[in-house]
Symmetry: C2
Subunit: 230 residues, 2 copies
Amino acid sequence: MSERFFLSSPPRDGHAVLDGQEARHLTRVMRCRVGDEVVVFDGGGSAWPARVARIGRDDVALEVGEPVHDPERSRGRVTLAVALPKGDRQKWLVEKLTELGVDSLVPLTTTRGVAEATPAAIERLERSVIEACKQCGRNTLMRIESPRGLDDVLAHCGVDTMSFLADGSGDPFDHSLVAGRPAVVLVGPEGGFTPEERAAAEALGATRLSLGPYILRVETAAIAAAARFA
Amino acid sequence: MSERFFLSSPPRDGHAVLDGQEARHLTRVMRCRVGDEVVVFDGGGSAWPARVARIGRDDVALEVGEPVHDPERSRGRVTLAVALPKGDRQKWLVEKLTELGVDSLVPLTTTRGVAEATPAAIERLERSVIEACKQCGRNTLMRIESPRGLDDVLAHCGVDTMSFLADGSGDPFDHSLVAGRPAVVLVGPEGGFTPEERAAAEALGATRLSLGPYILRVETAAIAAAARFA
């Protein structure tokens, strides 16, 4: 696979420009030269073969070929709403959910949550999404949504959406749950959801779902859900 | 859940001894005192409630209660044979496979593999298994086997075992594949299996299996397989 770069704005008339980190990645890390062939993607589902036309001080001009569009996927959209773990585990989580094809990640605000999803943290996560998309060949970015509480997430699901609460006391995952419908899976913090949160989720239609026989770390539960639903 | 400690030898006559890292964890990290109640497990499927009886310089004596044995699981054993990634990704892989219930991990020797499974590396992985078992409530250690090649792994599967090669060109995972039979999933290195390795695996009965629409990192592919089979 050719080296892939993220375009912050789509090509126009066969031309595109890389700037910021992407330009630095192309020139300083990959040491590309004028004439080298790469692939660019816009995060919205399209990719283009491209040729380096000019290397400037802070940007790189490219000539782009015909776009390749991602095929329509038959499954429903998958959203993971996760009480973010701290540090490296957070970065890991985002990388893996992106690779596995999750459509969007909601940082879930919970009573026992430990990591605050500040605007700076969200920006870091978005950068991790881009890095993972470059590496795994995904052309549509996983969306990082604004932090929200469980009630808010569940109250704004579409009527067609299946919603699940990852919980050791729930029924084991069953493949028949994945029926081409959109799905939302809520994953709580290290200490779990409070009884009040659990009750609220069930009142809003979420089904408790066990993701394995042992106590899973936050990021493991989220990745296990992604592997099954996305 | 009470704090859990790993016993390198099972209790005798209601007494057990923690030593090495486990004794240090109990005294220095958890700062337990005589009389404190904990749980000990032997890695073979049993756990015991225990009370700290004496704290020595290098070991801790415990009085143990009646054992709790893991229930028989109805599914077949799951083995992941993985071309180990490097550094932190290796540690992560082992932690996640343990949490998700994989029975054994074979460091897979491949043409394009990057990490050598030296005896020191295997020892570190075994320690990661213990740490993960302490945390996730698992009483049977995930076994880290000796490094082996693909031919050797496949040639020594039981007749009843289903074997799979994680490969983007394979058929998508289908839940009917998990039929209570033992399963072996082979996961190649970053650059993938060579055509020769792929052909050898298929000749030995392995089925190509795609674990998602994108190019997965080694540890992501292994964890995605674990979430589905284990």
